[in-house]
């Protein structure tokens, strides 16, 4: 394994070395994991400072209260009481979860055949296909969502297109500003997040299992449901989480295409930090959303892995 800086210090003999430095050196030499952690520490430190500390402060903030322009720093559960006393917040979280689940199912169902196609059917231009599905994933989320506003708008692509070919007389009102528009836009914007994990898990499947299944008399559909699908479940689960978690608290999409009926919890949280100017309440809402997500993720993982254990 790699010789470290300290190894050279020891090997070449550092005349100024105190016994402490010497002991640290020996420790480094003796334990590979200490060298690994040292190399990792700058990154870890940055992640802790930029993620753990801020989230911890957010949780602390949720126990304080807004007193006009000041923050009252006495510990209180008032924000959480406010949440449970106003049914609108609970209803809104439920609605956000429902919309996000819809979007997650749609994304996975649409993505699975595509991932299957690239993993099993494409032989010579795999790289091209992979790049074609990853490129949209890296490009501006805001613009991808904005495109749907242009498409579904009152004077948008769909309406003006249908009018100009004479199929409808006046613009359809139901296209934009409703939950369906939000789900459709989210499903499009997060599509690439679902394909890649499913693709990776399909690609990893040992092809000899499939041959074995065929040799033992499975029809293609039996083979799919008994071999391919169970083995690709980890990818499907990862895809589900990667789409579900960020979409529950999405702000941009409901704001641009949701109108008043398509509003989600992310918009209410933002308004607490904007117009409503009640940061502690906004912090409490965020904490509740985080707990809710964590709870659903645990339930999801436990049920899917249990199901797998039983069928195996």
């Amino acid at each position: 394994m790699a010789v470290t800086d300290s190894a050279r210090t020891v090997a070449y003999g550092d005349t100024r070395k105190s016994s402490l430095i010497f002991r640290v050196n020996t420790l480094f030499l003796r334990h590979e994991w200490i060298r690994g952690y040292t190399l990792l520490s700058p990154t870890l430190l940055v992640m802790v400072m930029l993620m753990c500390l801020p989230v911890f402060m957010l949780v602390t903030y949720s126990f304080w209260t807004q007193n006009y322009l000041d923050i009252d720093r006495t510990f209180t559960l008032a924000n959480y009481e406010a949440f449970f006393q106003k049914p609108i917040y609970v209803a809104l979280i439920m609605k956000s979860v429902r919309m996000s689940l819809f979007c997650t199912f749609a994304t996975i169902i649409l993505a699975y055949p595509m991932a299957y196609f690239i993993a099993f059917k494409v032989k010579s231009n795999k790289l091209v296909w992979l790049i074609l599905i990853t490129v949209p994933f890296w490009t501006s989320y805001l613009l991808r969502v904005f495109a749907w506003k242009v498409i579904l708008g009152y004077n948008g692509v769909v309406n003006s297109g249908l009018i100009s070919v004479g199929l409808i007389g006046e613009p359809l009102q139901f296209l934009l500003y409703n939950p369906t528009a939000v789900v459709l836009t989210l499903a499009h914007a997060w599509a690439a997040f679902a394909i890649l994990p499913i693709y990776v898990s399909l690609e990893k499947i040992d092809r000899s299992y499939l041959e074995a299944a065929t040799d033992l008399g499975d029809t293609p559909s039996e083979r799919f449901w008994r071999v391919t699908w169970p083995l690709s479940l980890p990818g499907v689960i990862a895809a589900g989480l990667l789409v579900f978690i960020p979409t529950v608290a999405d702000y941009v999409t409901p704001r641009l295409v949701g109108g008043t009926t398509g509003i989600m919890i992310g918009n209410i949280i933002q308004s607490q930090f904007g117009k409503a100017n009640n940061w502690p309440l906004g912090a409490a809402l965020s904490v509740i959303v985080m707990l809710m997500i964590a709870f659903l993720v645990v339930v999801f993982i436990v049920t899917t892995t249990r199901g797998r254990a039983r069928s195996a």
Binding site: T43, M47, N159
Partner: protein, 301 residues
């Protein structure tokens, strides 16, 4: 299995296919009197349909950006570069572009360096708790952006740090590091680590080994990471939205213009330009990072 997709490796690929008993793809199989559909065809059609679903909505932005009308609607009125002219003459836009470039450049360098530290330690050392630490570094990918945004807003407010391009840059670094780490891990796993050990055995120090062996071998990954993290920062909206002070980045500027219908064509021109620019950078980065690494190595993203 390595390298089956590299262009110059057709014989090896063929051999691997033969070994696995696979045949070359056939979407259409020729018969004596013409073509007929094989079982592969419906899947191929679905894949094409899916790509259309992925790309066509976005293509309306460039389409209407050349349309000679203030209304974004069919029928198209004629070709015009007016909106692109508007775009380059808007002072605020150019300022926010400069801001985005500054933040993106800094974020790319910072997150790639941090990603390299993480990737090197994850691939070269045996450490307890490696899985948990990797998961921890990947966490920003799954925490909703709005939560990261307001957490950082709360803490900058508490420590009395003014909102500026620096706060945006820090937030973007947080979400870019996981991507940099993933890209670099698959690159570092992709080459023979005996080369590094040979260098060490031949008497080079770890630093010189890093600069003379690891870095030259990893550079496609490093370049890909720089390009991808730059694009992430350049396109990121929600964190910048919460953490912007007086100086906006380009996506924040776009957001501020969305409420003015008369600005819409100009925003379309800007959006089209950004999309084409990002597509180009990302394609280069993807080719760099996937070539010679093998399609299934590395991670989901």
């Amino acid at each position: 299995m390595t390298d089956t997709t590299a262009p110059g490796n057709l014989t090896a690929q063929k051999a691997a296919q033969d070994a696995r008993g696979e045949e070359a793809p056939q979407y259409f199989a020729s018969k004596h009197e013409g073509y007929h559909w094989t079982a592969e065809a419906p899947m191929f059609l679905y894949a094409v349909w899916y790509l259309a679903f992925l790309y066509i909505p976005v293509l309306f932005l460039p389409l209407f950006s050349f349309n000679d009308s203030i209304y974004v609607a069919f029928p198209l009125k004629g070709f015009s570069l007016e909106w692109y002219g508007d775009m380059v003459n808007t002072q605020q836009l150019l300022e926010s572009l400069a801001n985005s470039l500054k933040v993106g450049g800094a974020v790319a360098v910072l997150s790639t360096v941090l990603g390299l530290f993480a990737a090197k330690s994850m691939t070269r050392y045996v450490m307890p708790g490696k899985g948990a630490l990797t998961a921890f570094i990947m966490l920003p990918l799954v925490v909703p952006g709005i939560i990261l945004g307001i957490s950082l807003l709360v803490i900058t407010n508490m420590v009395g740090m003014p909102l500026s391009l620096y706060t945006i840059g820090l937030a973007h670094t947080l979400v870019s590091v996981p991507f940099a780490m993933l890209v670099l891990i698959s690159r570092l796993e992709g080459f023979d680590r005996n080369l590094e050990e040979a260098s060490l055995d031949l008497g080079e120090g770890p630093l010189r080994t890093f600069f003379r062996v690891t870095l030259p071998l990893a550079w496609p990954g490093i370049l890909a990471s720089l390009l991808l993290t730059f694009t992430i920062s350049f396109d990121e909206f929600i964190l910048a939205f919460f953490l912007a002070g007086n100086e906006a980045t380009l996506p924040v500027y776009i957001w501020s213009q969305l409420r003015f219908p008369s600005r819409l064509p100009m925003v379309l021109a800007l959006g089209a330009t950004i999309l084409i620019f990002s597509f180009f950078i990302v394609t280069v980065a993807e080719v760099l990072r996937r070539r010679g690494v093998g399609p299934q190595s590395g991670s989901a993203i």
